[in-house]
Symmetry: C2
Subunit: 570 residues, 2 copies
């Protein structure tokens, strides 16, 4: 890649247009220059002052003659002004505005387009509800925060590409989104074709393609890929989303971890800690934080007190969640939430004041020693995994309360964390299910357990978690076709539906590993956005509807005929 | 964007892997180094020589002991070799190979994965047919030409992004592909949802979104976007394809043309002529070349001889296609093709030897003078546009024949060409149809003809053509909502289905213009590929089927139920 031509001068925002500058650009050094600006009417005053706005800033314009009448200009009218940059009187400097030392003395004003409909004003103090914002996204995007998010997103993706392409010789390959169903995967959208009865599936990820690229010698692949999942019931999900998809031949778990740490640190210069990031096993995550995506912002950990009890089953667990005793008695709302979580996981939960009564004085004292004297505790007992998951959820909402009252140490930094040693399988309703996906390699140290104790086999999968959000995950893949077929059989997946994939492994496919980072979630965490909808230009609402266009819509009977389908009434 | 960190050293292809070098990397300067290479077995000889290949080149390995047996290694086995770089004897230098001055003395060889199935060998002299190549694309991609195309494509797109982002401050915005139907557009795939009877449409382009981004203040937008069209009947089309989509506020036709010329020239350093590229009107293209995408490689132009005839209708045209008379009498095959084209356009076509008989001595002589004495001619008469289109098609296949016999001047350079002044409307079966799309602005000089002579109104659309292929097109857009509604009405499009779009124009939408470049086609022209399938990693075959996975497939009755559809028998 030839890099000589670029960056000889800073990027110019006005090339190829009829403006000379943006509304955020003029400074004292431009005084005396004739300029043309385009922008929206932000504010007018006394028929003399006109404040115009574009996505780069605000500029004050002044009208020194009576030929131009701005008194009737509606807000958000888009105008073109021609004028001369003049200094403001020193006592009129506006230090809040980057252009606050100058103003434009207008000699020509042209209305480029009128405003006839404005469902809400561009004022932060009267910001509308999300539904209305999404319905008129083309206006909502003019808010400086939305501009900032979209521009940050673009530049983040560009930095990622530069790192991968220019420094490490990765090749971006576009793979199809119209493909066949992935056996054993998430629900995939289907797309009817004019071949009667035949449908594409929209890919949930480029997984099969990237592994076939490894077989095909594209040994350093990446793609910023659009993916699709029909999961409209889960909150804060989108039917389509973006992931940075990476796969390498001749690498290992450590290779991928090194790559991603370097990538993230270079992309978010200075915002992330130095390598290596913290790494814990799935078991540690579960026993310390009650989740596989711990939020390390809060220094509060579960304590294992199982040993204090005599118990018949190896699945039994007793854990406590300690918290600052200054919080006092839990609120009715928190008790209610705890009760809900307890039911969900079917475990016993004992609040601080009831512990002695429940377990007796001796064990209660032991618990206080383990948890710390200045702490109150919540005790949970039952199936070990469920006990941890239950306390993990309680940890989350309790931490929020403790934070509000200043009763917990909060780390405001970004805290990335690797989770490794996931189980290869989990117990499903109809037998074994995959914990990651069917192409994940078993841990070589556990291969001997594959037949005898499959649920105790660890995998070579890894997740990266940032402040309690899973922002990516991947694995070393199976490259041996016999092992792949065995795993598919164990998962009760018909391997004949993946014959093209098995064939690829049999063609001399290199060992390989990869990862995918969820770009929407990553941006949301970095921009401290409440929802991924805030970092997507045109998001769908939670039930998959588009508030802007009204999609999805009915289709005509001609279309139904063409695609050989009939819509059923419900 | 911080550019300091990058490019301190050249891109490294072996970071994050357990190889030390690629198979194309070692030179005399590495002699004595211990190295690890991974590659496919390309060739073995005498149990002593092993040639391994990866996507970067070939390296010869040599075995100086009897512990390692390579005699039974199948071709395409993927191996890891550890050894020392040694000089080859000078008389054994292989100047065909970049690594031809050295070889690796192996001290360890590890088989990384076996080959059990190889449908064809990686030998250019026995390259299989396309169907087999596509069916086993994961092997086909190992051919050096496929590697080269995919890597060129990645680096071309990266250069485009660098130009747009770093030099001109464009923002890449990802827009949805699941959207509502575009009224009046091409056939769009539909995607059923779990909302009974409601479907998304897969976007045929981000057109509406990019215009709404202009309304939203993202005034310099681009996206390398996946687009979808259900056009499986047209050859050399794909159901999904990639376009570089660009839109700017406050610009003009000239602004976009300047931008694209600079972009293409920077992206294809040295391969394209200097700006400005040639520009001709649609009318000139039609009358000189009989097409709106002339191939300027061949210096052969139609001649308008309409004036030699007296004719009643203004639609009448008479044109000749002159060609070097050394070609002699046309072959039977060409005569047949000419007859087909003639029927298609319903015009009269007179071959050279029949012209005098058809039009008489005088006119025939005049034609010879206009066309040039050393030329033979094909004359066509009838509806002027059809006459030109007919001769345009004949021009194409005749030029191929003339080229074979060296009877035509061929320009081997890339010859980009802008076509402007397209008509805004074309006559359709049920009234006016759009020539570009319904959002294209009429030419301001022709606005007065909109009601009286709509077919004579030119638009502000533009196409860019490269060596006979349309590689892009765009237009200045309508930003005035009243004009937009008028045009939609003239096209008989229900504007209520575009109310969100009209509302966006009414919110103070800046004037704007844009373009889209077809990346697949552009790459195919640049790589001199026969089909766009040759520049796509995993293409569908011509009827939209995936030879690799067999998609599209049947879906289960559960899936049909979930999506409230029923497949109909045909």
């Amino acid at each position: 890649i030839n890099t000589k031509e670029t960056n000889q001068k800073p990027a110019d925002s006005s090339t190829f247009t009829y403006r000379t500058h943006t509304c955020g650009e003029l400074r004292s050094e431009h005084i005396g220059q004739d300029v043309i600006l385009c922008g929206w009417v932000q504010y007018t005053r006394l028929s003399k002052f006109l404040l115009i706005r574009d996505s780069y800033g605000l500029t004050q314009c002044i009208i020194n003659n009576t030929l131009i009448d701005i008194s009737s200009l509606p807000l958000e009218t888009i105008v073109k002004v021609k004028g001369t940059v003049a200094p403001r009187p020193k006592d009129m400097y506006n230090h809040e505005m980057a252009t606050g030392e100058v103003e434009i003395v207008i000699n020509k004003l042209e209305i480029l387009n009128n405003v006839t409909k404005l469902p809400f004003n561009l004022r932060n103090y009267q910001k509308p509800k999300e539904q209305l914002r999404l319905q008129h996204r083309y206006i909502d995007l003019r808010f400086p925060e939305m501009q900032s998010v979209l521009r940050q997103r673009s530049s983040m993706l560009h930095r990622m590409r530069r790192f991968l392409v220019e420094e490490h010789n990765f090749v971006e390959v576009e793979t199809p989104t119209l493909f066949c169903r992935t056996p054993g995967g998430a629900r995939e959208f289907v797309v009817p074709t004019h071949h009667s009865g035949l449908f594409y599936s929209l890919v949930q990820s480029p997984q099969q393609f990237k592994q076939m690229l490894m077989a095909g010698g594209v040994d350093r692949y990446f793609q910023i890929a659009r993916c699709y999942r029909d999961e409209s019931t889960r909150p804060d999900r989108q039917p389509e989303f973006t992931q940075l998809d990476i796969e390498l031949s001749f690498t290992s778990l450590e290779g991928i971890i090194n790559l991603i740490e370097l990538l993230l640190r270079k992309t978010f210069d200075g915002k992330l800690p130095k390598s290596p990031f913290k790494t814990i096993t799935y078991k540690e995550a579960l026993e310390n934080y009650g989740t596989d995506k711990p939020n390390l912002k809060y220094d509060i950990k579960l304590k294992n007190v199982s040993n204090l009890f005599s118990h018949p089953s190896t699945d039994f667990g007793a854990f406590v969640l300690p918290y600052n005793n200054k919080l006092g008695k839990l609120s009715a709302k928190n008790r209610e939430k705890i009760n809900e979580v307890r039911k969900k996981y079917n475990v016993k939960v004992v609040l601080n004041e009831k512990i002695t009564k429940e377990v007796g004085h001796d064990i209660s004292n032991e618990i206080r020693i383990i948890a710390g004297e200045t702490n109150d505790n919540i005790l949970s007992m039952g199936d070990k995994e469920n006990v941890c998951l239950c306390l993990g959820e309680i940890r989350d909402f309790l931490a929020t309360d403790l934070k509000l009252k200043g009763l917990i140490n909060v780390n405001e930094n970004l805290e990335p964390l690797w989770i490794i040693d996931f189980p290869l399988f989990v117990k499903g309703e109809d037998g074994l299910e995959t914990c990651h996906h069917p192409f994940t390699a078993p841990h070589p140290d556990d291969l001997h357990l594959l037949d005898s104790e499959p649920l105790n086999v660890r995998s070579l999968a890894y997740d990266i978690v940032l402040n309690g959000h899973e922002i990516g995950g991947g694995s070393v893949r199976i490259h041996n076709s016999a092992l792949q077929e065995k795993i598919l059989n164990m998962l009760n997946i018909d391997s004949s539906k993946l014959s093209h994939f098995i064939n690829a492994l049999q063609s001399g496919c290199p060992p390989h590993a990869g990862i995918a980072l969820g770009i929407d979630r990553l941006m949301a965490v970095l921009c401290d956005a409440e929802s991924i909808r805030d970092v997507i230009a045109f998001p769908k609402s939670h039930d998959g509807r588009d508030p802007l266009s009204g999609a999805p819509n009915k289709i005509s009977s001609d279309d139904q005929k063409y695609y050989h389908i009939k819509c059923l009434e419900t």
